[in-house]
């Protein structure tokens, strides 16, 4: 080995070590890579993927529960609602409570981080401004009888009513949105949110596009939800008493 070979070898080694110091190697532990206390994590992506993505979808869509990555939904809902739903869950539904005060695992700071992150990631500022959007919440009484007509007008081309028919091999399935078991598991508020904001990930239209060119009014949405609520059954999910042919169940 002559001197030049030796020197170039030494140079190579030295530069290797230097770059090692320069944090370019995959093994370099990045700050924060040590596991923090789980109650100190305030990174939105991590909080979301550990606590929410199973039901609301990996990117806030294509989950079995309502899509949070829907800018229309983000435009109608306010921070307080988000915070209280995440902290306390929704009574009578499968949305769990996450706040430590309500038996969950998240601190208030983490819930704030979630709310902030939901907004930063999925809300678009100025979205729906000027549009005539039915409000997220309403105190108005709905007229169920009129609601049924609303269903006929806006929804019946895509949905059926009554007990969800069994899928008969391969044919495209049509959702019944008044199946007794379905209605027993979902809240009126959630139905309202889905009707107004739609589920763009699944192909269910928002309030403007259920009947293209004819947006639903606040009253229509309210009546529709009232009608759907009136279809709730006393003993849902049980074979007796059966829902009759028209799909109308026994009223609560």
């Amino acid at each position: 080995m002559n001197a030049r070979q030796f020197l170039s070898g030494a140079f190579l080694l030295a530069s290797l070590v230097l770059t090692a110091g320069c944090e370019r190697f995959p093994g370099y532990p990045h700050p924060g890579s040590e596991a923090m206390r789980p109650d100190e994590v305030t990174d939105f992506s991590r909080l979301y993927s550990q606590n929410c993505s199973a039901c609301h979808g990996a990117d806030g869509q294509y989950g079995p529960a309502i899509a949070l990555a829907n800018p229309e939904y983000q435009a109608i809902v306010d921070d307080n609602t988000l915070r209280s739903v995440i902290a306390n869950g929704e009574q009578g539904t499968l949305m769990p409570a996450f706040a430590q005060s309500a038996g969950g695992m998240l601190t208030d700071a983490q819930i704030d981080a979630l709310v902030k992150g939901l907004r930063q990631r999925w809300a678009r500022s100025g979205y729906l401004q000027g549009a005539d959007v039915p409000p997220y919440k309403t105190d108005k009484q709905g007229d169920a009888a009129h609601g049924q007509q609303v269903f006929q007008a806006y929804c019946s081309r895509c949905h059926v009513t009554g007990t969800q028919p069994l899928n008969t091999g391969g044919k495209t399935k049509t959702s019944s949105i008044t199946d007794g078991s379905y209605l027993a598991l979902i809240s009126d508020q959630s139905l309202r949110a889905i009707i107004i904001a739609g589920r763009p990930d699944l192909g269910h239209p928002d309030w403007r596009n259920a009947q293209p060119g004819h947006a639903m009014s606040d009253q229509e949405v309210t009546d529709l939800v009232a009608w759907m609520a009136s279809q709730r059954q006393q003993t849902p999910g049980q074979p007796y008493p059966a829902q009759d042919e028209t799909g109308r169940g026994k009223k609560l």
Binding site: V17, A20, G21, F25, P26, G27, Y28, P29, P31, E34, A35, M36, R37, P38, D39, S49, Q50, N51, C52, S53, A54, C55, G57, A58, Y62, G63, P64, A65, L94, P96, M105, Q164, N167, K173, T174, S175, S176, I177, D179, G180, S181, Y182, A184, L185, I186, D201, L202, T235, P236, G237, Q238
Partner: protein, 487 residues
């Protein structure tokens, strides 16, 4: 030059090391021992030296106190130039050392090298193995993170089961009734003074005997070891058809050791240091602590043992294992060395290696323990959600909310406590699904009381969608009969 020579001579007259060193270096060894199979012992020695060197550097920074340990490791990782690399070298060096020591031992076993007159070399080797494992365990404790904390907890609970003296032993091990600062000081002393001191002593004697007794010759079927004649036969072989140990045999050792060091460095650069994982705080319950790689097999074995077998197993099995290893050269100290004539030895080695591999694999995947945040963390496959009806989709929410996912995977995500459910609809009919959900069984809890009728209904409708599109759903006899009638 002559000046140098004078200095050398001055020392040599007093030390008189030249003779023994030359003799050791140039002593003849049988030609066929200069084989690649014989390099693991020296590689283990090299790794020991690496661990000592990197360990000393780490000890300069590390503070063995409950409050500081985690912080100093964090500091090494992030604030000190190349500190992370140092930690990574020490951590990977430890893994390599355990592996190389085991391979060395397996090779010695296969080649019958523990037989007369090398019994004591083997026995020291067994102790060196135990000490290597001891170093690996105490080192993991010094990391003082969650894994360390729970690892210690398990260690302590194993010790506590020793009859009569269990309690005092735990006290001695932990330096008090609980895992605290005193525990860490104890393990620091063990890891830095006690075990390495003993290890150096034992390793020195071990190498001394290798030099004195000669390297084991390549085993040949039919060349039988007899106490009366072996030494003479060996010396003849070494002198007639021998090569000097340096350089003929040594260069392969050097080459391999260098390769191992490079491999350690590459692993360190690619995979980085171990942890530290979460802080050792028993109030953190969202944790799934796991021992370091080498102890995973034990972790798996303990998980599978029925509870009443645990105490006998953890107390008696290791003792038996060590006794068997120690007794080996006395029970089988003479006779055939070649593996061609030792089928039992070959089978034993294969069995041990395969079981170790299987248990380690299980330890990595821990299929016995539910994944505690799968219910809220693991998304369902997009396509599945997309193609469902509103009711089925709500059933999927029930599936997640009731934490079925913690035990059952879908789309490759989720726990493995129960079977994957991706094609459960091809196996079970609606009735069977309802029964399984309501009554559980076979290690699945019964959900009957925890699900409302609409929840069961939605859930089962969802489960019925879990099948590949091209495969028929399960049908029972009455459905089949009905289908026949319809035709």
């Amino acid at each position: 030059m002559s000046r140098l020579k004078e200095v050398y001579n001055w020392f040599e007259r007093r030390l008189q090391l030249e003779g023994p060193i030359k003799e050791a270096a140039l002593h003849p060894v049988p030609r066929n021992t200069a084989s690649w199979w014989y390099v693991f012992g020296s590689a283990a020695m090299t790794l020991l030296m690496l661990q000592i060197a990197t360990g000393i550097l780490l000890a300069i920074i590390y503070v063995p106190s409950g409050g500081e340990a985690w912080k100093t490791l964090d500091q090494l990782n992030h604030q000190l130039y190349l500190g992370w690399f140092l930690r990574a070298m020490h951590g990977w060096g430890s893994n390599f050392m355990v592996a190389v020591v085991l391979i060395h031992m397996a090779q010695v076993f296969m080649f019958g090298a523990y037989k007369f007159p090398r019994e004591l070399t083997w026995i020291l080797g067994v102790f060196l193995l135990l000490m290597t494992l001891g170093m690996a365990f105490t080192g993991q404790v010094l990391r003082f993170d969650q894994d360390a904390y729970w690892g210690l907890g398990i260690g302590a609970s194993i010790v506590s089961r020793v009859p009569l003296i269990g309690g005092p032993l735990v006290h001695l091990l932990l330096g008090g009734p609980i895992i605290a600062g005193a525990t860490l000081s104890r393990f620091f002393a063990l890891h830095v003074f006690v075990i390495p001191g003993l290890m150096l002593l034992f390793a020195g004697l071990h190498v001394w005997m290798v030099l004195k007794l000669g390297i084991n010759e390549w085993p040949m079927p039919g060349r039988v070891v007899r106490r009366e004649t072996y030494i003479q036969e060996y010396n003849e072989m070494a002198h007639k058809d021998g090569v000097p140990f340096v350089p003929d045999a040594l260069w392969k050792d050097l080459f391999f050791s260098a390769g191992i060091l490079v491999a350690v460095a590459v692993c360190a650069l690619l995979f980085g240091p171990y942890g530290p994982g979460g802080q050792p705080d028993p109030t953190i319950i969202q944790t799934a602590p796991k021992p370091d790689f080498f102890f995973l097999w034990l972790f798996a074995v303990l998980s599978y043992l029925p509870p009443e077998m645990e105490t006998p197993f953890v107390l008696i099995a290791p003792a038996i294992g060590i006794l068997v290893l120690l007794a080996l050269p006395f029970v089988a100290g003479v006779g055939e060395k070649s593996w061609h004539r030792r089928p039992v030895a070959v089978l034993v080695l294969i069995t041990v290696a395969v079981s170790w591999g299987i248990f380690t694999h299980l330890g990595v995947h821990t299929p016995w323990s539910p994944v505690m945040d799968a219910w809220s963390g693991d998304p369902l496959p997009q396509k599945l959600v997309h193609s469902e009806t509103a009711l089925e989709r709500q059933g999927a929410v029930v599936f997640q909310a009731k934490q079925c996912r913690n035990c059952h995977s879908v789309g490759g995500l989720g726990g493995q406590r129960g079977p994957a459910l991706d094609d459960v609809a091809t196996r079970l009919t609606e009735d069977q699904l309802i029964r399984q959900v309501l009554q559980g069984g076979g290690n699945m809890p019964a959900y009957g009381k925890n699900l409302s009728p609409p929840e069961v209904n939605a859930l089962v409708r969802f489960l019925e969608t879990l099948k590949p599109a091209n495969r028929p759903a399960a049908v029972d006899a009455s459905q089949e009969a009905q289908a026949q009638l319809g035709k």
